[in-house]
Subunit: 351 residues, 2 copies
């Protein structure tokens, strides 16, 4: 109605005219300037005019003037491929929202060229910072452009250790998963890892280190023949678990490097007439919502703190925390029914 130009809603000028003050006064009111520079009476008039006209600040103008955008960028190699990736995005966005920022998301598919162009567009949007996210925890080569803006690496670490990062504490995860089994009285514990250690992935190397340490601290011998390497798939889990469970002195518990592998172990156990949670204990990793709660019995699993990583990454970014330290986030244990005391003569007091 009482609008000057054509496109876009009313501006401060319109509000000013409506309230009978200067445009600057409107700005002062709306930004609650240091000290009460305007009388509460004028303030009232301005706010009424704002309401009446449905005025909304133009953030392009504001950003231009202020030199910052209250925008952050989220650059990921894949937003969707992994089913839990959404949590990372959601956690990051939630935190950004809480801190008064909006989040621009770009997924690059891992293509370095797209990645460079993505960061470039973010920079030209004057983002206040960038979350550089990997969909699985690994050491990342950092695109040079990222040096131009505050950046936090999430679910990964900078190859050269030059950027702050937030990653899951795989070691402690492996440690506590194994401890959980040991505390239930298991002494022959197998481990089906998700890839061979040569892969150098933290998820592989660190969880295994945790596994070994947990057994060692409990005074148990680490039987190398009980450690297997699959590819993280249910098929591999099935195959390797079968092999383990067919041994004459079979393990009483299996730590699986992820939930899909654990699922395979369930199938193997079933085929061999063994009940998971009774005849053999199983613990997983990832706590995938579409798998772990649906298995019978429910799968006890270590949860990867994706949402929390997203939140912490953004929180560090916006707090200006630029120390290139690696923040490791705890992987909580989610217990369901798949772990119990070992059955048979091996356990506790003689029956």
């Amino acid at each position: 109605m009482a609008r000057t130009g054509g496109r876009g809603g009313p501006t401060m000028k319109d509000v000013a005219r409506e309230a009978g003050v200067s445009q600057a006064a409107v700005s002062l009111v709306l930004n609650d300037a240091a000290g009460s520079r305007v009388s509460s009476e004028t303030r009232q008039r301005v706010l009424e005019a704002v309401d009446r006209l449905g005025y909304r600040v133009n953030s392009a103008a504001k950003s231009l003037r202020e030199g910052q955008s209250r925008l952050i960028g989220f650059v990921g190699d894949t937003v969707a491929s992994e089913p839990f990736a959404g949590d990372l995005v959601e956690g990051a966005q939630d935190q950004a929202w809480v801190d008064g920022h909006l989040m621009l998301i770009i997924n690059t598919g891992g293509d370095p060229l797209i990645e460079e162009r993505a960061i470039d567009s973010l920079l030209s949007r004057q983002v206040d910072g960038i979350v550089y996210a990997s969909m699985y925890n690994r050491r990342l080569k950092i695109p040079p452009l990222l040096r131009e803006v505050p950046t936090v690496v999430v679910n990964g670490t900078a190859e050269d250790g030059s950027l702050p990062s937030v990653a899951p504490d795989e070691y402690t995860g492996g440690l506590e998963a194994t401890r959980h089994l040991v505390e239930h009285g298991h002494e022959r514990v197998a481990f089906i890892n998700i890839a061979p250690p040569e892969s150098m992935l933290p998820a592989v190397v660190e969880r295994e280190r945790g596994f070994v340490d947990a057994l060692t601290e409990a005074g148990l011998r680490v039987d190398r023949t009980l450690v297997k390497y699959g590819d993280g798939d249910a098929v591999a889990g099935h195959r390797l678990a079968t092999r383990l469970l067919k041994r004459k002195r079979r393990p009483s518990a299996i730590f699986c490097g992820n939930d899909r592998t654990a699922w395979g172990a369930y199938l193997a156990a079933g085929e061999l007439g063994l009940k998971v949670g009774t005849d053999v204990s199983v613990i997983g990793f990832d706590n995938m919502p579409v798998i772990a709660p649906h298995l019978r019995p429910g799968l006890t699993s270590m949860e990867l703190p994706f949402a929390e990583m997203g939140r912490r990454g953004v929180a560090r970014l916006l707090s200006g925390d630029t120390d290139p330290t690696v923040e490791l986030l705890h992987c909580p244990l989610v217990t369901r029914g798949s772990v119990s005391r070992p059955a048979g003569p091996a356990s506790g007091t003689a029956s």
Copy 2:
């Protein structure tokens, strides 16, 4: 180096000075203005200067001047809760990128208050349009603020039919899933839907309509006792499939309203000594990547076109297609090993 102010990189003014031309000339070069207004020699000098200084356009200034931001908003009730939700986001973002836009993402958790504030921030960012996404296909009440900007509803429809929308073609999905079974020779086909029809969800009502029509067009009687309603969970699938498969004239095939239900049916079949894909055929819906390929045999399932919905939604938005029509996207059939010809005397030519 050759920079005027402090914050933020070099501006056009800096480039102009470096190249010995006016700032306007730089703009003309960089925007490849209609017709070659500048000599290729000057253009060269400018581009070199741009390179040398590492100039990058300030999009805040550009947006302010142009009145549009090349930004779109993505408002969803939950980005992560459903494992496939990421595909929706990814598809939308990919398409936005292709069309030269960046995407602001906000998840509201379904809270109408947050939703309103979210849309408000997007509007103040001058977004060129908004994708309003639901995480499951349903009829949505449209927040009034969305009327102020081009909007496309994705994975849902506007309650009052007032907005363009993109949704999965549930009916055809149900139709083709059932046809697939019928074409394999099944005549007694059961259906475990994911909720009772009273729920009014398109996924429930339309798939069932497709189921009925497919049987009818094949001249088969629809046996109402073979239609069951669960809650979409594996437990319900297990329970209902058990009941179905225990009947004396058991169905030779089960159409499951989603993959988790189908998983339950697998378990039920296993317990009853029936092999899926041999003794009983099963088809699912959703084609969940963490389930369908991992079941033994792999689960044949109808795929929900999430990524495609995201893409089409954005494409419509940016093409200025504002007809409030509902675009239904096909759900492709993904065949694995869970459907075959019915076993036993009931099938084909007498043994």
